[in-house]
Symmetry: D2
Subunit: 301 residues, 4 copies
């Protein structure tokens, strides 16, 4: 910024970083966020799994049972679906929330689902254990403030064109309202590369962990858009130090009403979970069905 | 997308383009949108000018008088301000709407201002002649639907990371609710180049005009972030065929509470308007204080 | 950059900008570059036109005559063609240079053509009036140094992923070798938007003109990839203040061996030149067949 | 691409993918590339380590000994340095090649170094075991052809703005000349995110491995620009399935003539190598000082 004939160029910046509520210096040891009894941000790498959208009772119950038996910790599923085109499937809405609740009763898994509308925050809070703010709404300050006024933990996804700075400031908006339970989710950014749906920015994980105490998870399903590379990127996310994963699993991907191409079949998810356990142990953490007693620390010379 | 062992990769796309309400084929001659008596989309290049934010009565009235006397058609000014950081100036809110209304009474200029919250749509409609959906909310489907249910014309800004396709589908969401009065605004996209605040994508103007009947305007203030290049890019926008311009003007940029660095002083705006008139005439249109009777058509051999 | 436990983070930066040979402060009035008798950087907007590749004698002579009669100043045409895929047409090579030379003899137009190989600099200098460094080679320091050691003017195209800073430093590499005759060409950068071949960055024109004394031209053919939007973007480039244009014209685009989709037919080029004249006059410059005596300055209040 | 009034839009594309020499279908089991006795593309994850630039005998010998003792397989070091600014350190040139050769004699490690000039290919071949084509030259077709005519293995780095398609076609250009020994290196792409030097695209690893038989390695040093996140991203690269790593190590980073901020101290490198071993074992591979006899396969249910 330079002074010029017309006036001083000014741009309102954030306050000094150390003053932010999200800043690492506030809690150098890191925060943990409780999601219906599951702790995110600790030694265990937490896996959020389930379909893109809740479609019917059988689909959500079957998928919930399958992901639980493979070691997932939290059930995800969309009831209110953001849609780029106004003609796409918009989700089952409140009926979807009821089905998620039924799946929780059936499996014991806590439930995370997206909220897109300030007017729906209350009803989503009634059914869900965690509120998701989707990528399209990361800059929706009004919605951030609304979830910041609830007691529910929030899963905040990075905007497709958002910098690390903007991502942290979106989280700050929630914390500022009193709600300290925020989990950040890297889910791919928009770049020139078009062989993948987005470019998963795994560098964001250590960068965020250096700058904030909030837990950071990774969504390799939206990050890549290709089911067949999800397990590889999930392992990379665990290796880079992510506190959790958000994975799309569908009992029958070819019939999925949305995002079938990036959803894992239950048997692929199950194999991936076993592989994740091995990687988690290699980096001094645990995941899924790991026998915690046999965890071996990496040899640090 | 390829079929693979795990399932068919599917991605829900828009319906066939020609079926969209925004599609050019619906109105090959193009639409015009009426903003408080000013027609956008016709031969006249319409200039929306004013401060980033309404700060006080003197500032908004002085700026409104200045831009009117230079030939601007519509007054812009933010009452509710989107903020990346939760500590920035958030606008005067309803008081700001009242001041905009006073400035309209004083100058006769219709007023456009941003709405960010579904719960505020009604009050903004009460005061404003046109509702602005900002870049951060282009993907906020709930808000798009809410403004689509009003009778007010809507100024829809392109999201910072939004493709042309997504921009058109956001407009479609508004039209689908019954409101056909939408003006699109190219305001720069996010790229690797950081010498400008964004990269103004002027190719978007002919591309949009080929694909939709809706009027298209350009915001070179946010597009560049530098007041000193705004006049050059404004002339380029008129030359490329834009139906209008959105320009930040502040009676005293160095004291602006936001975006002072990209705001023009009134005297720079006035000189720019004269230059725009010449370019408008050169491309067969009119702008600002152009003596329409002396307009000369470009010689097409 | 922060000091950390492991060591100081350092990054070798450019010398202070004012010390660079390209810096505007060296020649505040701007440089002009002579291309076979045509002055680039003066009041006249210079048009470089011709086919992507020289294909045969008839094609290049016909196109050269057509563009001259429409008011173009310099003939462009590729003899050595960069190819992304090793199986594409690679140009007629030395035979192509001979045909360009024949076209110059026929029309009097100076000739610019690309050089990609240090071993070919001498032969290209023998035939051409100006050497072009293509986008793929903007970072090819060895080639930049080689053309910097010749006496021929150089047309340096911006790299597809190059910042303004890097573009200026590439020019600096040429000037540092003794050759001061460099013309910069903005030709689009790579972004997420894929409806156009690249995103033409017209803000780069005033930004470069503020920072360097070298002339700046624009290539809307590669910048957009669509012939039908080339005239609009060419007008925008003149309006924004470009010192020239690089336009692909082919006597028969549908038979072009490369880039037919972005090449203008001669009759479209001719109409565009008339329109450019009007815009050039409107911004106080001249272009093509403009009657200079009737140029009217824009009214600056 | 659509047919229009002006002509048919054509764009010369690559031949059908399956016909390319790089295509996976040519060698479904994958290729291995021999680098001075080290096999790249097999079960062992190969680590290329060393300083950005060779600076003096002590620096390169000390660093070579250090990286060998930590388990690195190949020594990297720049003798000819690409420079964005013409005033930066340009490397020791042939003297640097001699020092690399001395370091190989001292440690037994094969050597990889960059070649930027067709006229230097012969001398670099004389000293080096592997030729590196840097990111700035990925599109330098003349240089690709020159190294394609040698017998030396080639390390081809992805261009900063290059798509996966273009990266593969650059490799194809080398193979087409007869040299089949090419290793691809993902090293970060240029995006809007500026907290890291580039955005490391780890999705590129499985995508490339699906499409080509050539080995794929990852450079987290250039990919991130921050030494402190290199170990995390290196582990992620191994977990995602990379065949090797390219790591900058400097015996004294704070005195480095270039890229000190992204270079590891030897002791940090040593600790990272131990951690990499654990991750490699977890994904069924080996790396560095792994006791191969104790390798445990991940449990695949």
């Amino acid at each position: 910024m330079t002074m010029t004939g017309n006036g001083i160029e000014t741009m309102d910046g954030p306050p000094h970083e150390a003053e932010l509520l999200v800043d690492r210096s506030r809690r150098p040891e890191g925060s943990t966020v409780d999601v219906g009894g599951v702790s995110v941000g600790g030694r265990e790498v937490v896996v959020f799994a389930g379909p893109c959208a809740v479609e019917n009772k059988r689909q959500i119950i079957d998928t919930a049972r399958a992901v639980r038996s493979s070691g997932a910790h939290v059930l995800r599923g969309g009831a209110f679906k953001p849609r780029t085109a106004p003609y796409s499937f918009r989700g089952l809405e409140e009926k979807g929330l009821e089905l998620l609740s039924a799946a929780r009763n059936e499996t014991g898994l806590p439930v995370v689902t997206e909220v897109m509308d300030t007017r729906k925050v209350e009803v989503v809070c009634h059914y869900a254990d965690m509120l998701q703010i989707g990528s399209r709404n990361m800059h929706n300050e009004v919605l951030l403030e609304a979830v910041g006024q609830t007691q529910k933990p929030v899963l905040l996804k990075r905007g497709i064109g958002a910098t690390i700075d903007e991502f942290l400031l979106a989280a700050e908006t929630i914390l500022r309202q009193g709600n300290q339970s925020v989990v950040l989710c890297e889910r791919g950014i928009r770049t020139f590369e078009d062989s993948t749906r987005n470019t998963l920015d795994l560098s964001a994980v250590p960068m965020l962990q250096r700058r904030t105490h909030l837990p950071v998870i990774v969504d390799p399903s939206h990050g890549t858009g290709h089911w067949w590379m999800v397990p590889s990127l999930a392992k990379a996310a665990v290796a880079v130090g992510a506190d959790g994963l958000l994975i799309e699993v569908h009992s029958n991907p070819e019939d999925a009403l949305s995002d079938g191409g990036q959803s894992l079949r239950p048997e692929v998810f199950d194999r991936m979970m076993a592989e994740l356990s091995a990687v988690a142990v290699a980096v001094g953490r645990a995941c899924g069905k790991t026998e915690v007693s046999t965890v071996v620390e990496p040899i640090l010379t």
